[in-house]
Symmetry: C2
Subunit: 334 residues, 2 copies
């Protein structure tokens, strides 16, 4: 149980809490990728998680702890899409309702995912409205618990179970500890949870954040020594899952531990999505492929090393996926 700051004990507790419902996703090693990287690469396939992304870990860790009274009033969440589906899935499992505030330009597949899990959707404009303000207002109106996407200890600790599993599964592969671990950073919940696990279990492993070039708020914040908030940005990105304007309040202090943050362009991300299709036979969404993109584009040296990579989600619209694998992708549209 965690009530205050996220902790490694909380991650261990989350692992017990989510075990009945979450998938222990495989840690995949592919000879062709090893050969290309010139080292060992361990892929944590969170694409195979419930609702297609790591987000279910945190959402279930939070929602499964609601009281009966809280469940009766339902939950509210705001999300770019993966947290949305995860909250809807966990809410359905726990017998409560979910209302999700989503950007109007969310991938269709993510909106449909929320509906498929019985969730209700309310849209907002990603570029002009504040999802936090809308989410909080709706939660107040309904008396519902707001399930935040990252600034909640239970969420961060739930995501941290990804890191625990990487450690255990790498041992099974005789690849422990990894020299470095690459993970995308948006609000920073996943990478913060992983940092908690790494600090305790693989303290010498370099944890490296990866962000889209146009949404490098964690990189800027680490350089500034404090959380930097972007002015409202209008740059479109293929990485819909990673378009945050600042690091989280709870996640940033933990993520000061990052060795560094590297950035990738949309073209590099598209190349990684195509590589995952062609060679790894995995469906990875752009925001879930940034770490692989960083490796393939040489942003991080992997030669002679063991590199763990989180493939954090696989929810991508068929039309975009088709464009990318057929080499027809010409950049994200605003």
């Amino acid at each position: 149980m965690t009530d205050s700051a996220p902790s490694f004990e909380g991650v261990l507790d989350a692992a017990r809490q989510i075990a009945p419902a979450a998938v222990r996703t495989p840690l995949i090693e592919h000879p062709a990728l090893n050969e290309r990287a010139g080292g060992r690469v361990l892929l944590k396939a969170e694409t195979l998680q419930v609702a297609g992304a790591f987000k279910f870990r945190g959402a279930y860790n939070r929602i499964s702890r609601l009281t009966e009274d809280e469940k009766a009033r339902g939950v509210v969440a705001y999300s770019s899409g993966n947290h949305a589906q995860a909250v809807a899935a966990a809410a359905r499992m726990m017998g409560t309702r979910a209302l999700i505030v989503m950007p109007a330009d969310s991938p269709k597949v993510k909106v449909e995912g929320v509906h498929a899990f019985g969730g209700e959707v309310r849209f907002y404009d990603r570029y002009t409205e504040s999802r936090e303000a809308i989410g909080e207002a709706v939660a107040r109106e309904r008396g519902s618990v707001l399930v935040r996407p990252f600034d909640d200890p239970f969420i961060i600790e739930g995501q941290g179970t990804t890191g625990l599993e990487i450690v255990d599964q790498a041992a099974d592969l005789g690849a422990e500890p990894a020299d470095q671990l690459l993970c995308g950073a948006s609000g920073g919940g996943l990478i913060a949870g992983i940092n908690l696990a790494m600090a305790a279990r693989w303290p010498d492993t370099r944890v490296i954040g990866v962000e889209p070039e146009a949404y490098n708020d964690t990189q800027l914040s680490l350089a500034a020594g404090e959380r930097v908030t972007y002015p409202p940005v209008a740059a479109p990105s293929i990485c819909d899952a990673l378009m945050t304007d600042r690091p989280g309040e709870l996640t940033f202090p933990i993520n000061r531990r990052l060795e560094r943050v590297v950035t990738v362009s949309d073209d590099e991300v598209a190349d990684a999505v195509a590589y995952a299709f062609r060679t790894l036979k995995l469906v990875v969404e752009p925001g879930g492929a940034v770490s692989l993109a960083a490796l393939l584009a040489g942003k991080v040296e992997a030669r002679g090393l063991t590199t763990a990579i989180v493939l954090s989600g696989g929810n991508i619209d068929p039309a975009l996926f088709a464009q990318i694998i057929e080499g027809r992708f010409k950049g994200a549209r605003p």
Copy 2:
């Protein structure tokens, strides 16, 4: 070591032989598929194998046993594409050359795969020429060992390691034994190898073969009580990996053990490929998706049962994959 009939001991030996080179592919359980099936479904993801299909197991088991003298003379294989890539990959690892006789209409991705592994390709016409005759003639000319796609004990035993791993991994998931196991049948090497493993380890598990409607030679042969050879067929199928005209000489006697064979249409297969993309986040080629198709189309009852399914390969051309996931697939072209 096996010299005569394929055996379970040979499968155990193959497991030791291929361990340094093959991927122990994950056995994946996905809550959404379980829910849809109304039971537990265990997916053996051979899509994640070296060269994207189970074929590497048998090819490596055979080629890694060549003498130095045999290696000096190279290997020859005929194949619809997956065996081709596997032989090329194994040959490269063992330091020998591979010449592959492939149908002229093989998916580009498979031809490119052979080239990427340094193999040489010679095309033939799938509908008018005998690949066996061409392969044997070329092997004779060059003094090369012919690595057959299924009628070879080492090949069958190598493929059988897939079954051994399913048994061990199902135990880890607390899902042992499965009530039934579905696997595609072409020449029948994979399913024969799996039958050897099942007879020894899960004797009560019903092993069910799955074939494309237009290439149901194993189904017809079981009904006839002997190997039936099709007249040369001209029916195109999306399942390029499963277009054989008769069961193998060594595989058929073993596959008499099958509980039954069910068939699937190209449309059912395309639906399964799309489902794997959308929900499972896995790239599966048509021939590799027939077992999943049989389950999703209700050809096999799965309610209340544990069903193991082999996703045998993931080598599909981007254009076809794009058509299928975007709902534009209108049937295979001759």
